[in-house]
């Protein structure tokens, strides 16, 4: 026997009709309530039908509410949605307030299956700049360079080395010496 029904489904969140951006559309298309006319477990359902049902149906002409009397059966609800999902729910020993609350919930639901979300966000445009590739943002000159390349291999030298500093100091000293010699020669003339 498979265990698939024992675990919660997993998936990604989706919103029907662009989150109802243009107009609201009730996602439930049919609610069926099955109940018994005589049993005590259907008492709340019978109360709901007597007092609240007519108003509820008049206020919500977008979907149909079916009532199916079934002899000696436990009362339950079946809600069918535009996305093809179907929900069963038991109303066994529920009272009137509970039933009107649950029926209202079924009306306002989007029909998304109850599942564990793998990601909490969803977008229809995953990336504007396009998917990454190892060749993205690479220097185009790499296409024509031959490897191994000495210039690409060498470490970036930000500061001069001690040897370079020494050579620079030496050159500076030589320049100063030559200038001093010139000025001396001019004085002697």
């Amino acid at each position: 026997m498979s265990k698939t029904h024992l675990y919660l489904r997993t998936g990604f969140p989706r919103a029907p009709l662009a989150n109802g951006l243009g107009r609201y559309m009730c996602q439930v298309k049919r609610i069926t309530i099955k109940f018994c006319k005589s049993h005590g477990s259907s008492r709340g359902v019978r109360d709901f039908i007597e007092t609240d049902m007519i108003d509820f149906v008049k206020q919500n002409p977008e979907f149909v509410l079916y009532l199916k009397p079934r002899r000696h059966h436990s009362p339950h609800l079946i809600a069918e949605y535009l996305n093809g999902e179907k929900f069963h729910m038991s109303f066994h020993n529920f009272n009137r307030e509970e039933i009107s609350k649950w029926v209202n919930l079924m009306k306002t639901r989007a029909g998304a299956p109850i599942m564990a979300y793998r990601k909490l966000g969803h977008t229809d445009n995953p990336s504007i700049q396009g998917v990454w590739s190892p060749f993205a943002n690479q220097d185009t000159s790499l296409n024509v360079t031959s490897f191994p390349n000495e210039k690409l291999s060498r470490k970036f030298q930000t500061e001069p080395t001690a040897t370079e500093l020494l050579l620079e100091m030496f050159k500076k000293q030589q320049l100063e010496d030559s200038e001093a010699n010139e000025s001396k020669e001019e004085e002697s003339k």
């Binding site: 396009g130 998917v131 590739s133 190892p134 690479q138 191994p148 291999s153 060498r154 030496f170």
Partner: protein, 178 residues
């Protein structure tokens, strides 16, 4: 998925070949960089279940530079499994036997423990000198930067450069150099 989307997918998961010059480089520091590229950790698409590692060619492994007294002091342990089968090979001895092994072991230690090591190590290609097979070299599209500058040796300086180099003093003519 359209043909264009399919090609984009291939492009994203394309395997890259990097090349790394180990000349005068510390193999243990280099191994940290190389192991990241072998695992694909440098990619934004990285995921442990995602096979996105790259190939790395390391050449000049004969000319690596170990820090401090590592050549003398670092010992590589091996045990044959028999009593008295333990052996300790010093780094310089191992390097004489096979000039790629110090580098190879350094990278192997950096990789995560487990069986994935074998598959990852297959993407590392080490060559002791400058000679790299042409069929490997033609795959290369990227070069990893060295971690430290390669110092110039005295041989690389010309006679003129040595002559012009600043000196604190000249040796006297009768001074005998040892």
């Amino acid at each position: 998925m359209s043909a264009y989307e399919r090609v984009k997918q291939w492009n994203t998961f394309a395997r890259i070949w990097h090349i790394y010059d180990a000349k005068w480089q510390n193999p243990f520091d280099s191994a940290k960089v190389i192991s990241k590229h072998i695992q694909g950790l440098h990619k934004p698409i990285y995921h442990p279940l995602n096979n996105c590692g790259d190939h790395v060619i390391v050449f000049n492994s004969r000319h690596i530079a170990l820090p401090g007294y590592e050549w003398k002091k670092r010992a590589y342990f091996h045990h044959t499994g028999y009593p008295g089968g333990a052996s300790w090979t010093l780094a310089w001895q191992l390097h004489e036997i096979n000039p790629t092994l110090v580098m190879q072991k350094a990278v192997k230690w950096e990789l995560p423990r487990g069986l994935s090591k074998f598959g990852l190590m297959a993407r590392l290609h080490i060559f002791p000198d400058e000679e790299i097979p042409e069929e490997l070299l033609k795959n290369v599209t990227s070069q990893l930067r060295q971690l430290r500058p390669v110092p110039r040796t005295l041989d690389s300086y010309s006679d003129k450069e040595i002559e012009e180099f600043p000196k604190v003093m000249d040796y006297p003519n009768d001074y005998i150099l040892k």
